[in-house]
Symmetry: C2
Subunit: 106 residues, 2 copies
């Protein structure tokens, strides 16, 4: 994963509204209106957040009539996790099981 993409992914995750959107999309796909209803925020604000998530590759979007469905795409999360896991030797324990995980990510 490139530094540019890590910038985008971690930057996208740095906002709690966007993390909450991802958390919701983990349960079900959703359109913009449904997501807007979850927050005390305007629809254009949500659209902007979705754009950031899309550019980071964390969601994909498809037209469904007049609506646009957002779907979680967790591959960048997996890649970012792999990056962070390079520091596993500094974690307090569980090295071996994490090593198994890392091997599986190749």
């Amino acid at each position: 994963m490139s530094e540019e993409q890590l910038d985008l992914v971690f930057g996208a995750l740095a906002d709690r509204t966007r993390r909450a959107i991802l958390a919701h999309l983990a349960t079900t796909d959703a359109n913009v209106g449904e997501l807007t209803a979850l927050f005390t925020m305007s629809q254009p604000a949500i659209s902007k957040h979705l754009k950031v998530l899309e550019v980071a590759g964390l969601i994909s979007r498809t037209r469904q009539g007049t609506m646009r469905l957002s779907r979680l795409e967790a591959a960048p999360l997996r890649d970012a996790t792999a990056w962070m896991a390079d520091y596993r030797t500094y974690w307090s324990e569980s090295y071996d099981r994490l090593d198994e995980l890392l091997d599986s990510l190749d």
Copy 2:
């Protein structure tokens, strides 16, 4: 891990200079001057980055004479990894081994 802390950790990781600092500190502790020499950037800029990393809990700092040693503290990385791993059901494979990891993080 609180939303506030996730804001700080992901925000800290969103900058590639800070990620490079963490990568270097993974090999050895270092003072500000040593870290400054690694980048084409002023010393105050590095000091600011270290402050961000410190507030996020990703490094700790100790005085060593006139110098201040920075040391990697990877616990927040572990916690942030655990957050991302909640989306493991969307990853393409390796669910079971990741589940083992998650169990071990409690």
